[in-house]
Amino acid sequence: MRVTTGDLFWGFLKVGVSGFGGVLPFAHRSIVEHNRWLTEPEFTEALSLAQFLPGPNIVNLSVIIGRRFQGPIGAAAATLGLMLMPLAIVLLLAMLFAQFAHVEAVRNACAGVSAGASGLVLSIALKMARPMRRLPLQLGIAATTFAAIALLRVPLPWALGVLAPLSIGIAWWSNR
Protein backbone atom coordinates (compact mmCIF):
# COMPACT_ATOMS: atom_id res chain seq x y z
CA MET A 1 0.00 0.00 0.00
CA ARG A 2 1.43 3.38 -0.99
CA VAL A 3 0.36 6.29 1.18
CA THR A 4 1.85 9.70 0.41
CA THR A 5 2.64 12.52 2.83
CA GLY A 6 -0.32 14.42 1.37
CA ASP A 7 -2.66 11.43 1.94
CA LEU A 8 -1.54 11.30 5.56
CA PHE A 9 -2.06 15.03 6.10
CA TRP A 10 -5.55 15.16 4.52
CA GLY A 11 -6.64 11.82 5.99
CA PHE A 12 -5.81 12.93 9.53
CA LEU A 13 -7.20 16.43 8.90
CA LYS A 14 -10.61 14.84 8.25
CA VAL A 15 -10.27 12.64 11.33
CA GLY A 16 -9.50 15.73 13.43
CA VAL A 17 -12.56 17.74 12.40
CA SER A 18 -15.02 14.85 12.61
CA GLY A 19 -13.89 13.77 16.05
CA PHE A 20 -16.64 15.13 18.26
CA GLY A 21 -16.62 13.51 21.69
CA GLY A 22 -13.58 11.32 21.00
CA VAL A 23 -11.45 11.02 17.89
CA LEU A 24 -10.67 7.31 18.09
CA PRO A 25 -13.82 5.87 16.44
CA PHE A 26 -13.34 8.25 13.51
CA ALA A 27 -9.66 7.39 13.20
CA HIS A 28 -10.57 3.70 13.10
CA ARG A 29 -13.24 4.23 10.46
CA SER A 30 -10.96 6.35 8.26
CA ILE A 31 -7.77 4.27 8.58
CA VAL A 32 -9.19 0.74 8.49
CA GLU A 33 -12.55 0.93 6.71
CA HIS A 34 -12.40 3.93 4.41
CA ASN A 35 -8.75 4.34 3.35
CA ARG A 36 -7.62 0.76 4.15
CA TRP A 37 -4.16 1.91 5.19
CA LEU A 38 -4.06 -0.76 7.90
CA THR A 39 -5.85 -4.05 8.54
CA GLU A 40 -7.84 -4.53 11.74
CA PRO A 41 -5.03 -6.42 13.59
CA GLU A 42 -2.43 -3.88 12.41
CA PHE A 43 -4.62 -1.06 13.72
CA THR A 44 -5.14 -2.82 17.06
CA GLU A 45 -1.41 -3.31 17.48
CA ALA A 46 -0.63 0.32 16.58
CA LEU A 47 -3.32 1.47 19.01
CA SER A 48 -2.08 -0.65 21.90
CA LEU A 49 1.40 0.82 21.41
CA ALA A 50 -0.08 4.34 21.22
CA GLN A 51 -2.02 3.78 24.43
CA PHE A 52 0.68 2.38 26.65
CA LEU A 53 3.28 5.01 25.75
CA PRO A 54 2.97 8.43 27.42
CA GLY A 55 1.38 11.25 25.44
CA PRO A 56 -2.03 11.84 23.88
CA ASN A 57 -3.09 8.45 22.48
CA ILE A 58 -4.40 9.74 19.17
CA VAL A 59 -1.31 11.89 18.59
CA ASN A 60 0.86 8.83 19.23
CA LEU A 61 -1.28 6.86 16.78
CA SER A 62 -0.75 9.51 14.09
CA VAL A 63 3.01 9.38 14.72
CA ILE A 64 3.06 5.56 14.39
CA ILE A 65 0.97 5.49 11.21
CA GLY A 66 2.72 8.48 9.62
CA ARG A 67 6.12 6.90 10.33
CA ARG A 68 5.06 3.55 8.91
CA PHE A 69 4.42 5.03 5.45
CA GLN A 70 6.65 8.10 5.18
CA GLY A 71 9.14 8.17 8.09
CA PRO A 72 9.64 11.40 10.07
CA ILE A 73 7.98 13.62 7.44
CA GLY A 74 4.94 11.34 7.40
CA ALA A 75 4.72 11.38 11.19
CA ALA A 76 4.88 15.18 11.20
CA ALA A 77 2.31 15.49 8.39
CA ALA A 78 -0.17 13.15 10.08
CA THR A 79 0.16 14.87 13.47
CA LEU A 80 -0.07 18.36 11.98
CA GLY A 81 -3.13 17.33 9.96
CA LEU A 82 -4.76 15.88 13.06
CA MET A 83 -4.19 18.94 15.28
CA LEU A 84 -4.51 21.89 12.88
CA MET A 85 -8.29 22.31 12.58
CA PRO A 86 -9.26 21.26 16.15
CA LEU A 87 -6.67 23.72 17.48
CA ALA A 88 -8.03 26.56 15.35
CA ILE A 89 -11.63 25.72 16.28
CA VAL A 90 -11.01 25.43 20.02
CA LEU A 91 -9.11 28.73 20.13
CA LEU A 92 -11.88 30.44 18.17
CA LEU A 93 -14.39 28.96 20.59
CA ALA A 94 -12.35 30.22 23.56
CA MET A 95 -12.19 33.74 22.11
CA LEU A 96 -15.93 33.72 21.43
CA PHE A 97 -16.52 32.46 24.95
CA ALA A 98 -14.39 35.26 26.38
CA GLN A 99 -16.58 37.77 24.51
CA PHE A 100 -19.81 36.29 25.86
CA ALA A 101 -18.65 35.15 29.29
CA HIS A 102 -20.69 37.92 30.90
CA VAL A 103 -23.92 36.35 29.58
CA GLU A 104 -25.22 34.13 32.37
CA ALA A 105 -26.79 31.55 30.04
CA VAL A 106 -23.44 31.05 28.24
CA ARG A 107 -21.59 30.57 31.54
CA ASN A 108 -24.27 28.19 32.73
CA ALA A 109 -24.22 26.16 29.51
CA CYS A 110 -20.47 25.85 29.97
CA ALA A 111 -20.94 24.64 33.55
CA GLY A 112 -23.45 22.09 32.26
CA VAL A 113 -20.98 20.74 29.69
CA SER A 114 -18.30 20.57 32.37
CA ALA A 115 -20.53 18.59 34.72
CA GLY A 116 -21.56 16.21 31.94
CA ALA A 117 -18.02 15.74 30.62
CA SER A 118 -16.75 14.97 34.14
CA GLY A 119 -19.20 12.05 34.19
CA LEU A 120 -17.81 10.87 30.84
CA VAL A 121 -14.25 10.87 32.20
CA LEU A 122 -15.40 8.82 35.21
CA SER A 123 -17.14 6.37 32.87
CA ILE A 124 -13.93 5.85 30.85
CA ALA A 125 -12.06 4.89 34.03
CA LEU A 126 -14.78 2.46 35.13
CA LYS A 127 -14.98 0.85 31.68
CA MET A 128 -11.21 0.36 31.70
CA ALA A 129 -11.44 -1.17 35.18
CA ARG A 130 -14.02 -3.82 34.16
CA PRO A 131 -11.50 -6.45 32.97
CA MET A 132 -9.68 -6.08 36.31
CA ARG A 133 -12.64 -6.72 38.55
CA ARG A 134 -11.45 -10.19 39.57
CA LEU A 135 -7.81 -9.17 39.96
CA PRO A 136 -7.37 -7.85 43.51
CA LEU A 137 -3.73 -6.81 43.02
CA GLN A 138 -4.55 -4.69 39.97
CA LEU A 139 -7.57 -3.15 41.69
CA GLY A 140 -5.34 -2.40 44.67
CA ILE A 141 -2.85 -0.56 42.44
CA ALA A 142 -5.68 1.41 40.79
CA ALA A 143 -7.11 2.33 44.20
CA THR A 144 -3.69 3.34 45.55
CA THR A 145 -3.06 5.52 42.49
CA PHE A 146 -6.47 7.14 42.98
CA ALA A 147 -5.84 7.78 46.67
CA ALA A 148 -2.39 9.26 45.97
CA ILE A 149 -3.42 11.58 43.13
CA ALA A 150 -7.05 12.48 43.87
CA LEU A 151 -7.19 12.44 47.68
CA LEU A 152 -3.62 13.14 48.86
CA ARG A 153 -2.71 15.28 45.79
CA VAL A 154 0.75 13.70 45.58
CA PRO A 155 2.64 15.27 42.62
CA LEU A 156 2.44 13.00 39.57
CA PRO A 157 6.21 12.36 39.15
CA TRP A 158 6.44 10.97 42.70
CA ALA A 159 3.29 8.88 42.42
CA LEU A 160 4.30 7.42 39.04
CA GLY A 161 7.90 6.93 40.13
CA VAL A 162 6.75 4.58 42.89
CA LEU A 163 3.55 3.02 41.53
CA ALA A 164 4.51 2.33 37.89
CA PRO A 165 7.63 0.21 38.68
CA LEU A 166 5.75 -1.51 41.52
CA SER A 167 2.83 -2.41 39.27
CA ILE A 168 5.08 -3.55 36.41
CA GLY A 169 7.03 -5.65 38.94
CA ILE A 170 3.82 -7.30 40.15
CA ALA A 171 2.75 -8.01 36.55
CA TRP A 172 6.19 -9.47 35.76
CA TRP A 173 6.25 -11.64 38.86
CA SER A 174 2.65 -12.88 38.57
CA ASN A 175 3.23 -13.81 34.93
CA ARG A 176 6.03 -16.27 35.52
Partner: protein, 175 residues
Protein backbone atom coordinates in the same frame (compact mmCIF):
# COMPACT_ATOMS: atom_id res chain seq x y z
CA UNK B 1 12.68 39.31 24.47
CA UNK B 2 10.68 36.12 24.92
CA UNK B 3 7.76 36.32 27.32
CA UNK B 4 8.92 34.43 30.44
CA UNK B 5 5.45 32.93 30.74
CA UNK B 6 6.03 31.11 27.43
CA UNK B 7 9.20 29.52 28.79
CA UNK B 8 7.36 28.58 31.96
CA UNK B 9 4.52 26.98 29.94
CA UNK B 10 7.01 25.11 27.76
CA UNK B 11 8.85 23.70 30.79
CA UNK B 12 5.62 22.63 32.51
CA UNK B 13 4.24 20.78 29.51
CA UNK B 14 7.57 19.31 28.35
CA UNK B 15 7.76 17.51 31.70
CA UNK B 16 4.07 16.55 31.69
CA UNK B 17 4.39 15.04 28.21
CA UNK B 18 6.41 12.02 29.34
CA UNK B 19 4.29 11.63 32.48
CA UNK B 20 0.97 11.43 30.62
CA UNK B 21 0.57 7.65 30.70
CA UNK B 22 -3.01 7.07 29.60
CA UNK B 23 -3.19 10.27 27.59
CA UNK B 24 -4.32 13.80 28.36
CA UNK B 25 -7.23 12.63 30.52
CA UNK B 26 -4.79 11.07 32.96
CA UNK B 27 -2.92 14.28 33.80
CA UNK B 28 -5.88 16.57 34.52
CA UNK B 29 -5.26 16.49 38.30
CA UNK B 30 -1.59 17.36 37.79
CA UNK B 31 -2.47 20.19 35.35
CA UNK B 32 -5.02 21.49 37.85
CA UNK B 33 -2.46 21.28 40.66
CA UNK B 34 0.15 23.21 38.65
CA UNK B 35 -2.10 25.77 36.93
CA UNK B 36 -4.41 26.62 39.85
CA UNK B 37 -2.65 25.74 43.12
CA UNK B 38 1.06 26.19 42.36
CA UNK B 39 1.34 28.78 39.55
CA UNK B 40 -1.94 30.63 40.29
CA UNK B 41 -2.48 31.07 36.56
CA UNK B 42 -6.25 30.67 36.89
CA UNK B 43 -9.11 29.98 39.27
CA UNK B 44 -11.04 26.74 39.69
CA UNK B 45 -13.85 28.27 37.61
CA UNK B 46 -11.45 29.17 34.77
CA UNK B 47 -10.01 25.64 34.76
CA UNK B 48 -13.45 24.11 34.64
CA UNK B 49 -14.44 26.43 31.74
CA UNK B 50 -11.29 25.50 29.78
CA UNK B 51 -12.14 21.84 30.32
CA UNK B 52 -15.71 22.38 29.09
CA UNK B 53 -14.55 24.25 25.97
CA UNK B 54 -12.00 21.55 25.14
CA UNK B 55 -14.76 18.93 25.38
CA UNK B 56 -17.22 20.98 23.33
CA UNK B 57 -14.81 21.32 20.38
CA UNK B 58 -14.05 18.50 17.94
CA UNK B 59 -10.65 16.86 18.19
CA UNK B 60 -8.48 15.11 20.76
CA UNK B 61 -8.99 15.89 24.45
CA UNK B 62 -5.38 17.08 24.75
CA UNK B 63 -6.77 20.42 23.47
CA UNK B 64 -7.31 21.47 27.10
CA UNK B 65 -3.52 22.00 27.15
CA UNK B 66 -3.75 24.60 24.38
CA UNK B 67 -6.56 26.38 26.24
CA UNK B 68 -4.53 26.57 29.44
CA UNK B 69 -1.67 28.03 27.37
CA UNK B 70 -4.09 30.48 25.74
CA UNK B 71 -5.45 31.61 29.11
CA UNK B 72 -1.90 32.27 30.36
CA UNK B 73 -0.24 33.81 27.29
CA UNK B 74 -2.66 34.08 24.35
CA UNK B 75 -2.25 32.36 20.98
CA UNK B 76 1.53 32.01 21.40
CA UNK B 77 0.90 30.37 24.76
CA UNK B 78 -1.53 27.91 23.18
CA UNK B 79 0.93 26.91 20.44
CA UNK B 80 3.92 26.59 22.79
CA UNK B 81 1.91 24.50 25.26
CA UNK B 82 0.48 22.03 22.75
CA UNK B 83 3.86 21.64 21.00
CA UNK B 84 5.60 21.05 24.34
CA UNK B 85 2.92 18.57 25.38
CA UNK B 86 3.10 16.52 22.17
CA UNK B 87 6.85 16.84 21.42
CA UNK B 88 8.70 14.52 23.82
CA UNK B 89 6.00 11.82 23.79
CA UNK B 90 5.91 11.87 19.97
CA UNK B 91 9.68 11.48 19.72
CA UNK B 92 9.54 8.59 22.19
CA UNK B 93 6.66 6.97 20.29
CA UNK B 94 8.56 7.32 17.01
CA UNK B 95 11.64 5.64 18.44
CA UNK B 96 9.70 2.84 20.14
CA UNK B 97 7.64 2.21 16.99
CA UNK B 98 10.91 1.61 15.12
CA UNK B 99 11.99 -1.05 17.59
CA UNK B 100 8.47 -2.38 18.20
CA UNK B 101 8.64 -5.53 16.09
CA UNK B 102 11.70 -6.83 17.85
CA UNK B 103 9.88 -6.63 21.21
CA UNK B 104 6.65 -8.14 19.93
CA UNK B 105 6.66 -11.16 22.22
CA UNK B 106 9.07 -9.97 24.88
CA UNK B 107 7.79 -10.81 28.39
CA UNK B 108 8.96 -7.42 29.63
CA UNK B 109 6.69 -5.68 27.09
CA UNK B 110 3.70 -7.68 28.32
CA UNK B 111 4.59 -6.89 31.93
CA UNK B 112 4.88 -3.15 31.16
CA UNK B 113 1.52 -3.12 29.35
CA UNK B 114 -0.26 -5.09 32.05
CA UNK B 115 1.44 -3.19 34.84
CA UNK B 116 0.60 0.26 33.51
CA UNK B 117 -3.09 -0.54 32.92
CA UNK B 118 -4.24 -0.31 36.58
CA UNK B 119 -2.12 2.82 37.13
CA UNK B 120 -3.89 4.41 34.16
CA UNK B 121 -7.29 3.46 35.58
CA UNK B 122 -6.36 5.14 38.88
CA UNK B 123 -5.13 8.25 37.06
CA UNK B 124 -8.25 8.68 34.92
CA UNK B 125 -10.52 7.99 37.88
CA UNK B 126 -8.62 10.74 39.72
CA UNK B 127 -9.23 13.08 36.78
CA UNK B 128 -12.97 12.44 36.96
CA UNK B 129 -12.89 13.02 40.71
CA UNK B 130 -10.89 16.27 40.53
CA UNK B 131 -13.06 17.55 37.66
CA UNK B 132 -16.24 16.78 39.56
CA UNK B 133 -14.95 18.58 42.65
CA UNK B 134 -13.75 21.55 40.60
CA UNK B 135 -16.89 21.79 38.49
CA UNK B 136 -19.89 20.71 40.52
CA UNK B 137 -21.10 23.02 43.27
CA UNK B 138 -24.78 22.08 43.48
CA UNK B 139 -26.95 18.98 43.65
CA UNK B 140 -28.24 19.42 40.07
CA UNK B 141 -24.63 19.58 38.87
CA UNK B 142 -23.78 16.33 40.70
CA UNK B 143 -26.96 14.81 39.25
CA UNK B 144 -25.81 15.80 35.73
CA UNK B 145 -22.41 14.20 36.27
CA UNK B 146 -24.07 11.09 37.71
CA UNK B 147 -26.53 10.83 34.83
CA UNK B 148 -23.87 11.05 32.10
CA UNK B 149 -21.80 8.51 34.01
CA UNK B 150 -24.76 6.08 34.14
CA UNK B 151 -25.78 6.70 30.52
CA UNK B 152 -22.20 6.20 29.30
CA UNK B 153 -21.88 2.93 31.24
CA UNK B 154 -25.26 1.44 30.35
CA UNK B 155 -26.14 2.74 26.86
CA UNK B 156 -24.41 3.19 23.50
CA UNK B 157 -25.61 6.79 23.18
CA UNK B 158 -23.03 9.05 21.49
CA UNK B 159 -21.28 11.24 24.14
CA UNK B 160 -21.95 14.36 22.05
CA UNK B 161 -25.71 14.07 22.71
CA UNK B 162 -25.08 13.91 26.45
CA UNK B 163 -22.91 17.03 26.30
CA UNK B 164 -25.56 18.88 24.25
CA UNK B 165 -28.25 17.90 26.77
CA UNK B 166 -26.00 19.07 29.62
CA UNK B 167 -25.36 22.39 27.83
CA UNK B 168 -29.10 22.97 27.32
CA UNK B 169 -29.90 22.11 30.94
CA UNK B 170 -27.12 24.49 31.97
CA UNK B 171 -28.31 27.35 29.74
CA UNK B 172 -31.84 26.96 31.13
CA UNK B 173 -30.35 27.48 34.60
CA UNK B 174 -31.11 23.95 35.81
CA UNK B 175 -27.52 22.84 36.55
Amino acid sequence: MINPLLIELALQFLTLSLLSIGGANAIIPEMHLRAVDIEHWMTDADFSQMFALSQAAPGPNVLIVSLIGWKVAGIAGALVSIAAMCGPSSVLTYQVARAWDRFRDAPLRTAIERGLAPVTVGLILSSGFVLTRTTDHSWPAYATTGSTLLLALTTRLHPLWMLIAAAVLGALGVV
